[in-house]
Symmetry: C2
Subunit: 254 residues, 2 copies
């Protein structure tokens, strides 16, 4: 049984808690957060605290808070020589204060509290300072998923950046599509088969091979018409810039 | 039996041909293209021509060519009072020369010759000048799909624009993710569960509710780190612009 203290109550912590609770291999001994309010999303039976001094003994302390807080909170931990891991894509291993052993367990997924996730399919990227800690991090990762990769901090930062493009930015383009539909009395649902197919296509083709649309075809007339009819200035810029980038990728210089 | 002449041999024509061939309700009497070369992708038994003067008699002429050619080719058709339809998202009904009856059958999907598509699930958007023609276009659309919508040219243009954002631009972001992975010795496959979940999420949440990531969280530190480490100038601009647009959508002013 791996005894875990969860630090933080955001989306990642919420889904880690669910996945650990569903396994017999992990015991969540405590959840810490600096304020009380989000404890309500977590199971009642797990002890909770808002004070670092009250942290209980555990095998692993999982710091699942926003990136900017990792350095400070690990500095303030009131113990030494324990295994402390964070779950951030863009934060190096070194952000964890050296008084404790350090590891990273980065689950590559988009987590919202209102949407369940099958953790067993989530790729997990791990890192640790030494072999012993890597074994402990691996053991914890194996509780969560079948798909575990050992990578360094530099690769993880690149991966997180790729995830921002292919998930966060993609979702924002969905949001723009949603607003365009709303403004023209069209249900957003009509775009869903297209969105689905766009994702499925890259299972069998590379994204470069799968590219279609006015910019790929070099259809300047349509591009100009679209840019003209967009009222939102940012969307206009996004349209121009992405069309230019598609054209350059496909070497159809203007 | 609806007798159809297909004009054009691009991706849309290719998939329309496949879907019509699979049904018993349509007879493709001929395929026209201005050059011979792409006829090889189409069934041998269908008559083909490169001369408009050789076009055979049919109930519907389906013009599935690039947008910029629609006006000219329908002007040059050597007959009158026939039903001529185009398949373009961004071209008005009026682009079809008035000597013939006009209709639109716009299938909202991303078509590549190397990827099969289940046409029965593709939403089709139709338009025609009068009720009689609308009936004929509806009959043809019903051969292809269960999901048919009547919309006007203005709505269709908006829909096509939304499709550019949610399909063509999304795919380009996948291509950027692919390149970032390649440059860092990471297999693109590790991003696929995330890409899949990003799409699935908007089945149950609105894109605005589903948004996650550094820009949504207002995590300036990570945003700056990412922008600094991107070498491609266009990608840098894309990162900045989309982050700004996400921030503004979620009303987290800087």
């Amino acid at each position: 049984m791996i005894r875990v203290v969860l630090i933080g109550t955001g989306n990642v912590s919420y889904h880690l808690c669910k996945a650990f609770e569903a396994s017999n291999a992990v015991d969540i001994v405590q959840i810490y957060n600096r304020s009380l309010e989000s404890f309500k999303d977590f199971p009642e039976h797990i002890p909770k605290t808002v004070l670092l001094d009250e942290l209980m003994d555990a095998d692993v302390y999982v710091v699942a808070i926003s990136d900017k807080g990792i350095k400070e909170i690990t500095y303030n931990l009131p113990f030494e020589n324990k295994l402390v891991i964070h779950t951030s894509g863009s934060t190096g291993l070194k952000a964890i204060h050296s008084k404790n052993n350090a590891g990273v367990l980065y689950p590559l997924q988009t987590f919202s509290k209102s949407k369940t996730v099958d953790f067993s399919e989530v790729p997990i990227f791990i890192e640790a300072k030494n072999e012993t800690d890597l074994k402990s991090v691996t053991a914890l990762a194996e509780v969560l998923s079948k798909d575990i990769h050992i990578i360094n901090s530099e690769q993880r930062r690149a991966l997180h950046m790729a995830a921002v493009f292919t998930c966060n930015f993609v979702n924002h383009l969905y949001a723009i599509g949603h607003e365009i539909c709303d403004a023209n009395d069209l249900p957003f649902d009509v775009l869903k088969p297209l969105i689905q197919e766009t994702t499925e296509k890259i299972q069998s083709l590379s994204p470069k091979e799968a590219q279609t649309g006015p910019a790929k075809r070099g259809d300047q007339k349509t591009i100009k018409k679209h840019i003209k009819s967009l009222e939102n200035k940012d969307w206009k810029k996004i349209y121009k810039l992405l069309s230019k980038s598609i054209k350059e990728t496909h070497e159809q210089k203007l």
